[in-house]
Structure formats: structure tokens, C-alpha cells
């Protein structure tokens, strides 16, 4: 029995608890009516935020290895990415199915007229493609193409942060208004992407090895 439990690393337990907790707490709050006076919007926005957090976490895995030498995050990337996809799907379902009541003409109009919606949908489709090809079988089938496909997550990350910023009453161009959270997430994303540039990555891991050998 105990040997079975030990098959999960602490990181795995944290990830899976964090993966399901927002869903259960939200369901609980829906049932108890404790989600502001505007619960549909509250749920919709929260699901989107949680998806964003998991996306950032999945994008943080490689930089964590670079900076710390701790290799486990690489193995957890897929789970984090799939939780990001799960919450993105729920976010989309609440938006289309509940907020707009599957009013397809209205949804089509929104998507064609509002860049904010189109960006969200684009990122969602990228997540979908990555999620269904996330299994080992696909990795083997696609070979080099798999890696190229999965690199579109960087693009999706940028799109999602813009989508998040556009949801706020703020001006992205002048960085004024309710911009602080999208700005912080954007800076974090930029750091995570920069740490993948080979030169920077070698510098960072070289620095780490030097520090370790001191």
C-alpha cells in the first residue's frame, strides 16, 4: 500500500491537487450561490485565469531545469499543459454555452468582430491540437513535426496574455488602467520565453554550474 503512494512524487501530488481544487471549489460555490451577484461572469473569468496559470506553469518547466538543474519539471509539463487545456475548455464552454446560451449567430458575430474573442479562440484551438497530440503514440508518429507543433505553445502563451489584457478596462498601448495583472503575467511570460533562447539558456546553465562548483 505505502509503496503505491510513494509512486507519486510531491510535485505530482501538488500538481494534481492544484489541478482539481479550482474546479471543485467553483462547483461548490455554484451550488451554494456564493459567486458574486454576477456568477456566470465570475465563473467564466476564473476558469480563464486558472487556465492561464497552468499555461504559465507548463512554460516554466524548461526554465526551471535551466536555472536549478532539477529535472523533474520536464516530466510534469504534459500534466500542467493538459490542466491548462481542461480549464480553457471549461472557460470556452461557459462563454459559449452559458454566457451566450449557444447563440451561434451571435457567437459568430462576436468572433468575427472582436479581436479579443478571436485571439481567445485561436489560443484555444492551439491548445486543442496540442492536447490531442500529447500522447506518446502521436509523438512517435509525428517525429520532428511533433516538436514543431508543440512549439506553437509559445505563440499561444503570447496570444493568451494579450487576450487577458484585452479583457480588462485598460489601455495596453499606454499601460494605463486595470493593467497590472496582465502586465505582471506578461513580464513573467517574457522571462520564461527569453530563457529558452539558446545563448541565454547556455549562459544561465553555465552560471548555475559555476555556482554549484563553488
Amino acid at each position: 500500500m505505502s509503496s503505491r503512494v510513494l509512486k507519486f512524487t510531491p510535485a505530482q501530488i501538488v500538481i494534481h491537487v492544484c489541478g482539481w481544487f479550482p474546479l471543485f471549489i467553483t462547483l461548490y460555490q455554484v451550488l451554494t450561490g456564493n459567486l458574486t451577484a454576477n456568477p456566470i461572469q465570475a465563473v467564466e473569468q476564473r476558469l480563464g485565469r486558472v487556465a492561464l496559470y497552468f499555461l504559465i506553469a507548463s512554460l516554466a518547466c524548461t526554465p526551471i531545469v535551466t536555472l536549478t538543474g532539477w529535472r523533474e519539471p520536464i516530466k510534469r509539463r504534459r500534466a500542467l499543459g493538459l490542466y491548462a487545456f481542461m480549464y480553457t475548455s471549461l472557460h470556452f464552454m461557459v462563454f459559449a454555452g452559458v454566457d451566450y446560451g449557444l447563440d451561434l449567430p451571435q457567437l459568430a458575430k462576436l468572433t468575427s468582430e472582436k479581436p479579443f474573442i478571436l485571439l481567445g479562440l485561436t489560443a484555444g484551438l492551439i491548445f486543442f491540437a496540442l492536447a490531442i497530440t500529447s500522447f506518446k503514440w502521436w509523438m512517435r508518429q509525428m517525429g520532428k513535426g511533433w516538436q514543431n507543433l508543440h512549439r506553437t505553445i509559445y505563440l499561444a502563451g503570447i496570444i493568451v496574455v494579450i487576450h487577458f489584457a484585452m479583457a480588462r478596462k485598460a489601455n495596453i498601448a499606454t499601460l494605463s488602467g486595470d493593467i497590472i495583472q496582465p502586465l505582471l503575467i506578461g513580464i513573467l511570460l517574457a522571462i520564461l520565453l527569453l530563457l529558452r533562447i539558446p545563448v541565454i539558456r547556455r549562459l544561465a546553465s553555465g552560471l548555475r554550474q559555476k555556482l554549484n562548483s563553488l
Binding site: A37, G101, G177
Partner: protein
Amino acid sequence: MENKLNSIKPASSEITPESIYFSRRDFLKTMGFVSAGVLLAACGPRKSTPVSTASDKSESASTEVPIFDEFGDPANSFQEITNYNNYYEFSTNKQAVARLSSEFKARPWTIEVRGLVNKPGIFEISDLLKFEQKERIYRMRCVEAWSMVIPWKGFELGDLLDKVEPQTSAKYVAFTTLLDEDQFPGQGSNFYPWPYSEGLRLDEAMHRLTILATGLYGKDLPNQNGAPLRLVVPWKYGFKSIKAITRISLVENKPPTMWNTIAPREYGFYSNVNPIVDHPRWSQTSERRIGEYGRRETMMFNGYETEVASLYSSMDLSLNY
């Protein structure tokens, strides 16, 4: 679409004539606001704050005289109106504003009226309460595409302006919120051009639907709703209805306003509720009435078209958004 419109607009025979909805306040007055108070009890038993006196009176409060707007839609509950507030001086979290504003000092309070007027002055809030206080049941349409029906108490801004006698050169009215970072933690953020400012054209300000609200549901205005005094312009998006006003200036030129300064392409000076002239990022064609499951079609001028359209008859509303 046709069906949805019908569900919003009742047959014309069902629409309360305006004269009656304006006089509902008299009815409420004669009831001593008992009905409103009892209604509050139904909404707020979980909150101990402003409803405690009424809360013991009735168990079956939901059957008491409800309040409706002229389309027959019920007013939102006191609980909803006081726990879902856009008030960035306290927080961008609408649910947190009630708690964060609980210590706000709305008394003593003075409002300076200055600029192009013959009789400028500094008014105590108690002076302003001497203007005839009226009950106005208004729809509030937020630019975020949600809406409420709110039974305000207040006086017509025109009453105050008449008293200070605007000069003929005065064309606009500028409003300013209190600047006090100790009381308004949000004003510590450098991302906004504090203090909050708003403006109206003089004829908009003089319109009888434009009020300075001093209360809601017959009670003093709660802090989270802009105590002690806020503007309410029901045909404009909610952000025009500036809260905690300390200064009113009559000016010749169009004054700067906060959201217009932040994002001029998105928040026009006029900001009339308009489902046709769309916000560049978000759709303004529909809205969710707080407490309802589906969305409603948004109405031109938020349903006040017959009263206010003449103010804009010579204007292109797609340019003057």
C-alpha cells in the same frame, strides 16, 4: 431576435406611464419606506450591515411590495446593489469594495461648486439634502455588459445648478472625486490619472433624469455605492456616474474625464448606452441583468430614448460615442 426584444419590451399597455413611476416615490414616502425596508430584509439576512433594523420584521418579506422600473422589471436587491461595485479607488474586485469601504468617512463632507457661475459656494452635504429628495428607479448599464435596476434617492442636479446660476459661457459641468490615498488605497496606483473625473454637457447636466444620488432603497447612500453623493445619468454607461464627489466645476470647454483619458478610442466623452455604436473590444449589443440567467438586448440610451434622444438630434453618435 424578435422574440428577445419582445421579452424585454412589454406591450405598450403594460408600460407604466412615466408620471406614475415618478410618483411611486410618493407612495414609498407615505409608506415611510417600510416596504423598501422589509424588502431589504429579504435580500440581506446574511449581511449584518445596514439592514439589521428591518431584519426582524418579516419572514415572508419576498411577498411585500416589490419595486419595478417602468418596463415592469424588478429592482435588484439591496444585497446585489451593495456587493457588486466598480469602485477602483477601493479595489478592482467588485466583491471586495463593500468590505474595503466600510470605514470610509462620508461625513462631514463638503462639495465645492465653482467655475462659471454667479454664486459659487461650498455646500455641506446637509445643505444638499434640503433639495427635494426623490425616488428614482433607474436602470444602470455597465460598460462591462451587465445591468441592474436601482431605486435611487437623490435630487436633480439641475436644482443645484439653478441655485449657483451658471453663466452663459458655461458649456460643460466637470465633476471630481475626493483625492485621499489614506481612504482610497486604489489611488496609490500610478496606472490611473487620479482623482476620478467626469463631465457632462450643460444640457445633459440640466436634464431632469440626471440626479445626484444621496441614497438607495430609501437609505443613506452606502459607502460602496459612492457615499455621500454620486452622479447618476441613467442613459449613459455606469462609469459616467462618478462617486464621492467633492467638486463640481462649470467650464467652457469639454473637461478631461478619467476613462476617456486612459483609452480615448474606447470610452468617449458622451458614452451614451448605444447597442449600435460598439465598443472596439467588447460587444455592447446585449447585457446580463444581474440575477438573470440569459442575456437581454441592450436598449438605445438604456431605454431612455424618448426622454433624451433630443439632446443629440444634431449629432452623429458614431463619431460622438
